[in-house]
């Protein structure tokens, strides 16, 4: 696809304080259920991470992570079942090895390794999941925007995150 000529860095539309845009990949069996647990227990945590559910953290193709960064994400979270607890036996170890290798490649590309986080969370660990996300958001906020700018037609991210508090 040919680039369109107009250049618009992702952050130029933001005059508000920096809110990190983050993508989180969860597995169907543990970490997504941890997020679910955090939700139904009405725990409060930072709304910056957009979760995408995969069947398994081993399904995480590194392409997803690079696409997220290239498309304007400030950070990416990869989460799955604790080591030894994978629904598919050993696939979360595969995710772990990919994570280590990805961090090295991202560092060479000038993306701080801290922008990619690996988090194990069981279905019961809603509180841990919520706390870790809040911590991660603050870490990324301290790093500042990534402003990946190799594509003039990068995806526009809405300046304001559309979240609202719903009464239970």
């Amino acid at each position: 696809m040919t680039d369109t000529p107009e250049t618009k860095p992702l952050d130029s539309t933001r005059d508000k304080p920096f809110e990190p845009v983050m993508i989180g990949f969860t597995c169907n069996w543990c970490s997504y259920r941890a997020a679910d647990m955090a939700g139904i227990s009405r725990m409060k945590y930072a709304p910056n991470v957009r979760l995408i559910r995969l069947m398994c953290s081993g399904r995480l193709d590194p392409t997803f992570v690079f696409k997220a960064f290239a498309g304007g994400a400030d950070a990416v979270l990869v989460s799955g079942c604790h080591p030894g607890d994978c629904h598919y036996a050993t696939q979360n170890y595969k995710a772990m090895r990919r994570f280590h290798l990805m961090q090295r490649v991202l560092a060479q590309m000038g993306i701080e390794p801290a922008r990619l986080k690996l988090l194990w969370a069981s279905a019961a660990e809603g509180q841990i999941f919520a706390n870790e996300i809040t911590k991660f958001v603050e870490e990324v906020r301290a790093l500042g925007p990534l402003n990946w700018n190799t594509k003039p037609n990068a995806v526009e991210v809405p300046a304001e995150i559309p979240v609202e508090e719903v009464q239970a």
Partner: protein
Amino acid sequence: MSKPKFAMYWAASCGGCEIAVLNIHEKILDVDAAFDVVFWPVAMDAKYKDVEAMPDDSITLCLWNGGIRNDENEHMAHLLRKKAQILVAFGSCACEGCIPGLANFSSTQDMIDTAFSTITTDNPDNIRPQASYAMPEGIITIPTINPILKTLDQVVDVDYYMPGCPPESHQIAAVIDLVIAALNGKAQLPPKGATIGAGNSTVCDECPRKRNVKAIKEFNRIQLMAADPELCLLEQGIPCNGPATRSGCNARCPSAGAQCIGCYGPAEGVVDYGARLIAAFASVIDSDKPDEIDKILDGLVDPAGQFYRFNLAGSLLRASKAAQTPKIG
């Protein structure tokens, strides 16, 4: 009836693609018989204004090799797109950036410094190229460099992709036969956007080496060991890019005892070449312990260079952060 017209142009490239075309030997006579060569800077004299004077769509087939490094390349890409009916991204540079695209790891400043003031360069006054320079006769200009090298399809619409560094001669010959047959109404051209002159699978599929699905405890460098001549190189810990690389070369390097370095680019369906290799390499590592995984990965000296040797400009991330913040001093 006048013959269909043929053009070939080079941008940021080494000239190897031109040699590869001549390497089709006597088949070049078929090219001459079937086509009028109207523009081919390496083989004949022609000026840009001659191309500008041609009617639009008057060139039937234009093979473009090289990446888009400066504004001259970009101008010629737009010009030849307008003049050619079929524009082929020919060779790895045009398709995915190739070796010139590795400059996308560095800032423009570092790239210029490397070219003009390292120890191997005889440049005592530290002279740098200037985009324009006032001479007594008037101002002379040279093309200005883009901070990020782009692939051809990041600049103009491309009809076909022909990978390889350079494309194998038997593949070039086959493509030329196909185009000539299509012009005579005896064959049909593939759909627009197709990759031609290559296979649809991976180098591993063509590789004669034996695979035992064995995981590894360390990465090795091929020059530091005596590699088994029969066994899969990756299973011996040698970083081989075969699993993500498009077939079409008959697995030349692994057959000859060297690892695949990935010059045929991403295999069919691979969005990001390096990402696919990360997945493949991580899968052969035999460890579940973070510390041990890190130790094994230390054996991969330059992972980004290994995974994006030919593909950096064509990858999802395209260029490092350093290259995106250009400063020329």
